[in-house]
């Protein structure tokens, strides 16, 4: 495989290979010297058309740990502001002879469009409201670390599923591995995902019962006042995760969040900072997973 544009396009075997490879890279990250020469001489361009700190930093660090040459391309200083088309931008970048293009873009399908038009490997770092595949991979990696496998787990995904590319990628991944997926949120924010073996709950207390994993999603403030929900206060009352609700899940349930969090809006501080929260471990695992993806796409190891 040349690109990673989405989880939808991956088979279960391919996902397993990435997760196993990530496991080896996690060992590397525990060493004193965390840099390996695996991709020395390769060039990566990080093409971020949307503001991002976490994902971009994670990719950049993963790229540096693999010894690649990293080029950061951020939109405010680029020719995109001068009206250049995406097609021309990527063709220009390709002319530099880059090996990887990591792209974040507000248009769903932008990575697919790029992948069709360049020879370099394209990695989707989030496109519109479509997918964020490396986030789902690191989430799966984190769950497996804690729970051993994904099969049969009750996994509740809570919040703005409609606009969340993280939720979408997670749904595609988890459904491939036989997890019981529960979508919890207001009806205005839950799309029709019936093809992916999900159960929908508008009542959060009910949806959290016996959950093994609770994935909280970030609520984007700009959705307020657009008719999706009346106020953040009402939202937190109905779909926010606090200690009382956490107790409805299994005793050893883990709490996840892709960040950045809105404390007091979708998640209370005591939950976010509790022993059940693995939010910071997710960040560490993100590095290992992104290293694995690039390593495999470069043709090293087996074909992804």
């Amino acid at each position: 495989m040349k690109d990673l544009v989405g989880i939808k396009e991956l088979s279960r075997n391919e996902i397993e290979l990435i997760l196993n490879t990530a496991s080896s890279f996690k060992d590397v990250l525990r060493r004193d010297i965390k840099k390996v020469p695996a991709l020395r001489g390769k060039t990566v361009v990080n093409l971020f058309f949307e503001p991002s700190t976490r994902t971009r930093t994670s990719f950049e660090l993963a790229e540096k740990r693999l010894s690649t040459d990293v080029l950061n391309f951020s939109v405010p200083t680029s020719s995109v502001v001068k009206g250049e088309s995406l097609f021309d931008t990527i063709k220009t970048i390709e002319a530099y002879g880059v090996d990887f293009i990591v792209i974040r873009h507000s248009s769903s399908g932008a990575p697919h469009f790029i992948a069709r038009n360049v020879i370099a490997s394209v990695i989707n770092a989030g496109d519109g409201i479509n997918e964020h595949p490396t986030q789902a991979l690191l989430d799966a990696f984190s769950i497996i670390e804690k729970k051993g496998s994904l099969e049969g787990l009750n996994i509740a995904i809570v919040g703005d599923i409609l606009h969340s590319r993280v939720a979408k990628s997670n749904i595609y991944l988890l459904s491939k591995f036989g997890a019981n997926i529960r979508l919890i949120g207001p009806p205005t924010l839950i799309p029709d995902m019936a093809d992916h073996n999900v159960e929908v709950f508008y009542e959060m207390d009910e949806g959290l019962k016996d959950a093994d994993v609770i994935m909280m999603l970030r609520i984007q403030m700009e959705r307020q006042g657009k008719g999706f929900f009346p106020s953040t206060m009402e939202y937190f009352k109905n779909w926010g995760l606090d200690m009382r609700r956490l107790k409805l899940a299994k005793k050893d349930a883990i709490v996840m969040h892709p960040g950045p969090m809105n404390r007091g809006i979708e998640i209370s501080s005591d939950v976010a900072d509790s022993g059940q929260s693995i939010i910071l471990e997710q960040v560490t695992n993100g590095l290992a997973v992104r290293m694995a993806v690039m390593y495999l796409l470069s043709g090293r190891g087996e074909n992804v």
């Binding site: 995406l86 769903s108 399908g109 995902m193 019936a194």
Partner: protein
């Protein structure tokens, strides 16, 4: 050029006269002067020797149409010629030429040009340009409101006098029910239809494809069927209230078909059109973020396709138009949500519609009605017929000829088609328009 000709031995289909049989058509000075039927009707069988003697017709071009259908040139009541303002997408010259290649001899161009066709000066410009460079007849459609803004009525009567045959704000639907009411009322004085692109833009805002499981899965914002149905319902009610003539453009949903059917049963003055893509393909074409399948209204589901076919069969949908919407390659070579909506339709419309005949949904005669006669009647123009005395605007069609759709061969500047590579059966092989004969077989 030849304006005297004899089309011999073709299978003539002309629903305006109930003709469906083998015969000859004699044309003098670009007008139809005689039709002789040899089979297919009682009259034809009564006559014995009704062959033209070609020796008696010197200086006549003889067109042998044996094995071919001879039908009135098609009347396409929904097209975008892009001139003035967007000549990089299409011009009156290239657009009308592409239409003629598709067997279309009359087109109605929508007003979303730059400047908008919302005053008689623009109407006159289009007609002057057509006179100078057009290969087929162009009947402009004027804007309902100034600047298509939906706020105040445009000078409909003056545009009508200048040559507009209908009024529409096309892709920018009139959201104010009051303005739509006034337009339907006012248009009664002119006895012209108001054409409505039915879309509640507050429901479809930001949408780029049909709303449903596929849009959720592709992460693309959806346009729900309710956005169309709600406006169809509103406009039917307003037409009922005012008695104004309403024509619903490009029907794409099952619900619209149902609402129009019910309205017709009640006797509302409503007519409706659909386009070949709405009865041929579904939202699945969008997969892979194919911008050539991005169109507004969006491609829907198989259920909608089936309902539209049923609506065509039972007469709920009166007309097949193309909504020919050419765009530049660079505009379609973009992110899906940034690419403009539209399909270049002139050069595939008849072939795609002939599939309805092969499937047994329409007879050849019904197809000609929907693609020529009824649209001409709705617009009140002299076209869509082979009656004696009318201009000889004729398409000669080989319904057995197979070809592969190659947009690079389109005469339209717009190469944006979701049918690229399709093998279609049946195409116009000769078009006669404005006294000129175009034999498309010569170019092969």
């Amino acid at each position: 050029m030849y304006s005297n000709m004899l089309i011999k031995n073709g299978h003539i289909i002309d629903p305006s006269q109930g003709i469906d049989g083998i015969g000859d058509i004699l044309i003098e000075d670009g007008k139809i002067v005689r039709i002789e039927q040899k089979s297919g009707s009682l009259e034809a069988k009564k006559k014995k020797n009704n062959d033209f003697r070609t020796s008696e017709l010197p200086n006549f071009q003889i067109i042998d149409a044996s094995g071919l259908y001879v039908i009135p040139g098609l009347v396409d009541m929904h097209v975008h010629l892009r001139e003035p303002g967007f000549e990089y997408k299409e011009t009156i010259k290239t657009g009308t030429m592409a239409a003629v290649k598709g067997g279309i001899t009359s087109v109605c161009c929508m007003p979303n040009t730059n400047p908008v066709n919302d005053n008689k000066t623009v109407t006159e410009f289009i007609l002057r340009k057509t006179y100078a460079e057009g290969s087929c007849y162009v009947y402009p459609i004027g804007a309902i409101t100034k600047g298509q803004k939906g706020e105040e009525l445009a000078e409909m009567a003056m545009m009508h006098e200048a040559g507009c045959v209908a009024f529409s704000d096309d892709g920018r639907p009139v959201m104010s029910s009051l303005i739509m009411r006034r337009a339907l009322e006012y248009s009664k004085a002119l006895n012209v239809p108001v054409i409505s692109h039915c879309e509640d833009i507050s429901l479809s805002e930001g949408g780029v494809m049909n709303e449903g499981r596929l849009s959720a899965q592709m992460g693309l914002r959806g346009i729900p069927y309710a956005s169309e149905d709600a406006m169809v319902a509103r406009d039917i009610i307003l037409s009922e209230l005012t008695g104004g003539r309403l024509h619903i453009a490009h029907v794409s949903t099952e619900g619209s078909v149902r609402l129009i059917r019910q309205a017709k049963e009640r006797g509302v003055r409503v007519t409706a059109e659909t386009c070949p893509h709405y009865f041929t393909i579904t939202e699945d074409e969008v997969k892979g973020y194919n911008t050539n399948a991005k169109v507004n209204p969006p491609l829907r589901t198989q259920r909608d396709v089936d309902a539209i076919k049923k609506g065509l069969k039972d007469g709920t949908i009166d007309v097949i138009a193309t909504d020919h919407a050419p765009h530049h390659r660079d505009e379609k070579l973009q992110e899906f949500d940034k690419a403009p909506s539209g399909i270049s339709g002139f050069e595939t419309a008849l072939s795609l519609s002939l599939r309805l005949v092969y499937e047994g949904i329409l007879t050849m005669s019904q197809l000609v009605e929907k693609m020529a006669l009824i649209s001409a009647r709705i617009l009140g123009i002299d076209a869509g017929t082979l009656k004696v005395g009318f201009d000889a605007d004729i398409a000669i069609v080989d319904i057995n000829k197979e070809f592969k759709v190659k947009s690079e061969n389109f005469l339209s500047k717009g190469k944006n088609t979701p049918f690229e590579g399709w093998v279609l059966k049946g195409m116009p092989v000769i078009t006669i328009c404005k006294g000129k004969v175009y034999d498309w077989r010569q170019n092969e």
